[in-house]
């Protein structure tokens, strides 16, 4: 039984070098509070899965690394004794068992009584809304149904920690969105400590209490989705999470001078500088209010907002997003305003 509040996880100096010499994970320290949901976000091959597998006990860290669940050192414990729930991208349901038997497997292994097992399976079926599938063979389920069964199976035996490796990647966009919300609600209502791997930043933003952005085996930044989005610690993070404009300008008298005009600059310094800002931080304003002037080159209607590619502001195109309902014309000139606080100046 996981206590309410969940198990805290602590990684100390955990690196992973595979036998073929691949250094998948650099020395990593990481702390998860009980009940916290962290998302490991990063490009393909950056070591997200490896980090998750080290926590799970499917890979052991290089000598010197230690893993703690609460105060217990679990480094030497094999996965079957760590009491973790895992959900895999490929679902990994047991084809020789039906839905019910899959869900009951962990309970059976842990020696639960048949009555307790039946009760728990029933709860899981209800919770995941798959009651009518209980006797189906798992090969006769849709992708979304399989993932529900996989989730139910992982949490049925009340693991201390839930680990999910790209659980939604194999599903189509609509289903992904729906299950993402369900998983979000589920994880928070269970109060279980969870680590969730994805390379999809939208998913990361929606699910994580905290996001750890990983690049080449290193956690390059951890923070809330908001922190990561608005205060990226490096240009890698800035580029990986959402769209980021980069403009080259000159600092003079407290202003950033760009080809399209000048904006106030409060971060000091002089000379050439590269500044970054998010598409939705550039507001479209009237001619009178404008700090920067440019010309619409392309517009993309995205439903809830419109994305414009604007030339003339900086050396390249600048991406601007607005939720205004009006339509723009290609060739139309627009005025922009960017608040000084929205401008980022990242060195690397």
């Amino acid at each position: 039984m996981s206590a309410k509040g969940g198990t805290a996880i602590r990684l100390v100096g955990c690196a992973k070098t595979f036998t073929n010499g691949t250094r998948a994970l650099e020395r990593t320290a990481l702390e998860l509070k009980g009940g916290e949901i962290i998302v490991f976000l990063g490009p393909s091959g950056c070591g997200k899965t490896t980090l998750l597998r080290v926590i799970a006990g499917l890979e052991s860290p290089d000598p010197g690394g230690r893993i703690f669940f609460d105060d217990e050192d679990v480094t030497e414990l094999p996965i079957e004794r760590r009491n973790v729930g895992m959900v895999f991208q490929s679902y990994a349901l047991f084809p020789n068992m039906n839905v019910e038997e899959n869900i009951a497997y962990g309970l059976k292994v842990h020696g639960a009584t048949p009555q307790h097992r039946a009760k728990r399976v029933e709860e899981m079926l209800q919770m995941m809304q798959i009651g009518e599938l209980r006797l189906r063979r798992v090969t006769e389920l849709s992708g979304g149904q399989r993932q529900r069964v996989a989730l139910a199976r992982a949490i049925a035996a009340q693991p201390r920690v839930l680990l999910l490796d790209e659980p939604l990647t194999a599903l189509d966009a609509l289903l992904r969105e729906r299950l993402r919300i369900e998983i979000d609600v589920l994880l928070h209502s269970l109060g279980i400590t969870a680590a969730y791997v994805t390379h999809d930043q939208g998913e990361a933003m929606a699910i994580g209490d905290r996001i750890a952005v990983i690049n080449r085996g290193t956690i390059v930044q951890t923070g809330t989705p908001r922190e990561i989005y608005y205060h990226p610690a490096s240009s890698f993070v800035a580029d990986f999470v959402g769209t980021m404009n980069r403009v080259n300008g000159t600092l003079r008298d407290g202003s950033l001078e760009l080809p399209g005009g000048r904006i106030p600059w409060t971060q000091g310094g002089t000379g050439a500088v590269q500044a970054l800002f998010r598409p939705n931080d550039a507001r479209i304003v009237t001619e009178a209010e404008a700090q920067l002037r440019g010309v619409v080159e392309q517009q993309f209607f995205l439903g809830d907002r419109t994305r414009l590619h604007v030339s003339g502001i900086a050396d390249g195109l600048v991406v601007v997003e607005t939720s205004e309902h009006r339509e723009f014309r290609v060739g139309q000139s627009v005025g922009l305003r960017i608040e000084p606080g929205a401008l980022l100046n990242l060195r690397d």
């Binding site: 799970a56 499917l58 094999p78 996965i79 079957e80 004794r81 009491n83 973790v84 729930g85 895992m86 895999f88 490929s90 679902y91 990994a92 349901l93 047991f94 084809p95 020789n96 497997y105 962990g106 292994v109 842990h110 798992v138 090969t139 399989r146 199976r153 992982a154 035996a157 693991p159 680990l163």
Partner: protein, 265 residues
């Protein structure tokens, strides 16, 4: 109507080919059931020859059966875990082992048998017991079991199944018998049918390895052909057919074509 003529030609050819193969079988069956083959069926039908075969060779039939099932037990015991290990650790060494396993199939049975005799012939008790034949049969049939199971194992990602079972608390043996074995059942069944069929019919190796006390059915057949009336040899063949045909039919049904259809997602 060129197409129809072509069709009938094909049909005729197929029927001819079947006849060519089936007639000798029928002849042999009839020979085993007629009172006197040289006088033809007109001499009358009888089960007498079958009775004679039973009196003379019942022992070879039982011996063949228990050698086959012993070979099956050993190949199950060795072959299934071996296939698992081979699938789990793909690499140069496992490739070599896999190839080495096939050697007894590629090398003429006589040569394998000779090698066995040269190596173990000195151990008299072993040499003269049916276990000696069993060793030969295991060498010969093991690759079929291993390959059959291996084919199923490589048709789905059994590693991730094992990992998820482990995450649910299952230790190695529980995973092996609860997850791996049930999911490669089709390969095991196909392998088992192959092993039993091959073992019951094996002549080459067995002929070299056997002693008068350890004659098997196919060796007995050769013996009867050489030294008995044609009718007795034929009746004996009939007994062999009766034993092997159900196995062949089962092999058709549960054999290798089923192996590939079980691809867990």
């Amino acid at each position: 109507m060129a197409r129809t003529r072509y069709f009938y030609l094909q049909l005729a050819f197929t029927l001819l080919a079947c006849l060519f193969l089936i007639v000798p079988v029928l002849m042999s069956v009839i020979a085993g059931l007629t009172v006197n083959f040289f006088q033809g069926v007109s001499s009358g039908l009888t089960l007498r020859w079958i009775g004679v075969v039973w009196d003379l060779y019942a022992e070879t039939i039982f011996r063949s059966l228990y050698i086959a099932f012993a070979a099956l037990s050993v190949t199950l015991l060795i072959g299934v875990p071996a296939a698992y290990v081979l699938a789990k650790r793909p690499g140069v060494v496992t490739r070599l082992i896999e190839e080495a396993l096939v050697l007894p199939v590629a090398i003429p049975g006589l040569a394998t048998a000779l090698a066995l005799i040269l190596t173990y012939g000195g151990f008299r008790d072993f040499r003269t017991s049916w276990v000696f034949i069993l060793v030969g049969h295991v060498l010969y049939t093991l690759p079929f079991m291993v390959r059959s199971v291996l084919a199923v194992l490589s048709s789905f990602n059994f590693r991730v199944l094992e990992e998820s079972a482990a995450s649910l608390g299952a230790g190695f043996w529980r995973r092996f018998f609860g997850i791996i074995v049930p999911n490669v059942r089709s390969g095991i069944v196909a392998g088992a049918l192959t092993v039993v069929t091959l073992s019951i019919g094996e002549f080459n190796l067995t002929w070299m390895l056997h002693t008068p006390e350890t004659m098997t059915l196919p060796v007995g057949l050769a013996d009867s052909y050489a030294s008995m009336r044609l009718e007795i040899g034929s009746a004996y063949t009939l007994v062999f057919f009766v034993m092997i045909t159900p196995l062949l039919i089962a092999l058709q049904r549960y054999g290798l074509q089923r192996v590939t259809t079980r691809g867990p997602a």
